[in-house]
C-alpha cells in the first residue's frame, strides 16, 4: 500500500502586502500525494499553484490548516535543522535555467548541494556522476554551464537536485522557457526519475500535453482545488477547464466539439491513438 508523502489538510496561505491588504492565495485545500506518485498541477497564472510549491519547500509556511511533507509538519516555528531536513527530502527546480546554476563547471555545480550536506568526498564523486548520467549530461561534466542550451542547463539543475537524493522533486514551470527539444529532454528526465527511481514528482505546468503524462492532475483555481483525478478524468470536463482559463489536448477538444454537434462517443479519450480508434469505428459503422 502506498504511503502518503504530502498531506494537505484544509491548508491556507494569505499574502499581506505593505499596505496591510491581504490576498488569500490558498483557501483551505486538502489533498494527498503518495510516495512515488507523479502529479501534475495545472492552474492559470495567479491560481495559487506556485504558492503551493513554495509551502512544500518551506519557502513559505501555512497561514492555516496543516501541511505534512515526508512526515514533517510544516510550520513557522521550525528549527533550522527541521527546515533543512524537509529541503533535503524535497528538491525544487525552477523556471529560469539561467538563475539556477552557480558554478563555472557543470560537475561543480552538481556538487554544490551535496557539498553543503557534508557528504564525504568519495560518495559525492559517485553521486555527482550518477546524477549527471541520470539526466544524460555526463559527457558535459567538464563544460561551462553558460555554453549549454536551455534544456541542458535545466538538466544540470535537475542533476544538482538529484545529487542531494531527495524523495520528491517539485518542478515549478521548469519547461516554460525551453524550446520544444529542451522541453522533450526535461520531460523524459522527469519520467525516468519517477519510473526508474520511484521519486515522487510534482510538476507545475501550463502545457496540457505535459500534464497528460502524469498519473494524476490537480487543478488549482482561485486558491482552491478545482479538480483532482487522472488526466482522463480531469480532461473529460472541457467546458469546466475552459472556464478556469485552461485548455485540453487537441484530440480531446475535437471529440468534444463533435459531440456538441450531436455525434456521441462511448468514451472521452485524450491521446490521439484512442481518439482515432473511436472516430474510425464510428465512420466504419456508418459506411
Amino acid at each position: 500500500m502506498a504511503e502518503p508523502f504530502i498531506i494537505a489538510e484544509n491548508l491556507s496561505y494569505t499574502y499581506t502586502d505593505e499596505d496591510g491588504d491581504s490576498t488569500d492565495a490558498l483557501k483551505g485545500v486538502s489533498f494527498t500525494v503518495n510516495a512515488g506518485e507523479y502529479v501534475a498541477v495545472l492552474g492559470h497564472n495567479g491560481s495559487g499553484k506556485s504558492t503551493l510549491a513554495k509551502l512544500l519547500n518551506v519557502i513559505l509556511t501555512p497561514s492555516g490548516g496543516k501541511l505534512t511533507v515526508g512526515g514533517h509538519v510544516i510550520h513557522s516555528e521550525m528549527s533550522e535543522d527541521e527546515v533543512f531536513d524537509v529541503r533535503r527530502d524535497v528538491g525544487m527546480v525552477f523556471q529560469n535555467p539561467d538563475n539556477q546554476l552557480v558554478a563555472t563547471i557543470v560537475e561543480e555545480d552538481v556538487a554544490f548541494g551535496p557539498e553543503n550536506l557534508g557528504i564525504p568526498r568519495e560518495e559525492m564523486r559517485m553521486r555527482v556522476d550518477d546524477a549527471l548520467k541520470t539526466v544524460g549530461m555526463y559527457e558535459h561534466r567538464a563544460n561551462q554551464p553558460h555554453r549549454l542550451s536551455g534544456g541542458q542547463k535545466q538538466r544540470v539543475a535537475i542533476a544538482g537536485v538529484i545529487a542531494m537524493m531527495p524523495k520528491c522533486i517539485v518542478f515549478d514551470e521548469s519547461t516554460a522557457m525551453l524550446d520544444p527539444r529542451g522541453r522533450a529532454e526535461v520531460m523524459q528526465t522527469i519520467r525516468r526519475l519517477n519510473q526508474d527511481f520511484g521519486m515522487t514528482i510534482l510538476h507545475i505546468t501550463h502545457y496540457m500535453d505535459e500534464a497528460v503524462m502524469a498519473d494524476r492532475i490537480l487543478v488549482v483555481n482561485d486558491g482552491e482545488i478545482y479538480r483532482d483525478g487522472t488526466p482522463k478524468e480531469v480532461f473529460a470536463d472541457v467546458e469546466g477547464l475552459r472556464r478556469v482559463g485552461l485548455d485540453v489536448p487537441q484530440g480531446r477538444e475535437l471529440m468534444h466539439e463533435l459531440s456538441r454537434s450531436g455525434i456521441r462517443f462511448d468514451d472521452k479519450p485524450i491521446d490521439i491513438e484512442h481518439c482515432a480508434e473511436l472516430l474510425l469505428a464510428k465512420y466504419n459503422a456508418l459506411k
Binding site: D179, R181, G245, G251
Partner: protein
Amino acid sequence: MTILELSDVCYTYDKGTPEANEALSHIDLKIEKGSMTGLIGHTGCGKSTLLRMLNGLLRPDSGKILLDGKDIWENPKEISKVRFRVGLVMQYPEYQLFDETVRADIAYGPKNMKLDEQEIARRVEAAASFAGLTPDLLDKSPFELSGGQKRRAAIAGVMAMQPEILVLDEPAAGLDPKGREDIFAGLERYRRESGATVIVVSHSMEDMARYCERLIVMNDGAIYMEGTQAQVFGEPEKLMQIGLGVPEVTRLVAKLREGGMPLSPDIYTVEAAKAALLPLLGGERA
C-alpha cells in the same frame, strides 16, 4: 505586395576571432504587407539574430535588408527611423516596464517620436485596446498588473508607435492557455484593423496553425522551410528531423487517413477538423 525583403543576408558574431559563430547564413526572405508570419526554430537557430536585423539593431555582414524596396542601411545615420517603422517586442518584455502608470509606460515610445499630446493619448488608448487592456488598468502601476496583463502592456507600448511591421519574440512564453489566447487573438485583431504586418516567433505549432498564414522554419542559421501552412506542415518528417512537429490535430487526421477516412491532409486546426469530420460521421455540416 512585399514590404520587407532580405537578400543574401549573412551575419557572424565575433567575426575574425577564434570564437566566431555564424548566426545567419545567406538568408533570402520576403514578407507580404499586412500578413502574419510565424517564425519557428530551436534556441540558437538564429531567429533572435534575424529579428534584431529587421529593425537595424544589428547590421548584416553582407546582403541587404529592404524595407518598402529601400535598403535600411543606405544611410546608417537614419537607422533610428527604421526602429519606429519596425517595432520589436523582445522576450519577456514586461521586465522593461518602468514608469509610474501603465498609461505613461505605453506613451513612452510615442513621446520619443515627438508626437503631440493629443495624438499620444489617442495612440495609447488604441494600443491598450488592441492589447486587450481595459481603460481602468491604464492608471494603475504596472506592478499591480498580473503577469499576462504586464506582458500585454509591454506589447501595447510598441503598438502605440504604430510600426508598419510589428515583430514579437515569443510573446506568449510562460503564459497560461487563456493568456496565450488573449495575446494571439489581440495580435490578429491588431493586424486586421490596423493593416500592420506582424512577424511572430512561437514554439507552439497549434498557435501557428491558428494565426499565421505563412511560416518560416529556421535551423542552424539558415532558412530550413518556408511557405504556406500547407507547404510547411505538409512535410511532417522534415519537421521531425529537427525536433519539431505538426499540430496534434494534424497527427490525428493523418491517423484517420491511414484508417481510410477520405480527409484532406491540409487540416491544421480543431475547427477545420470538425468541419471535415461532421459530414463523414453523419452529423450536419458545421
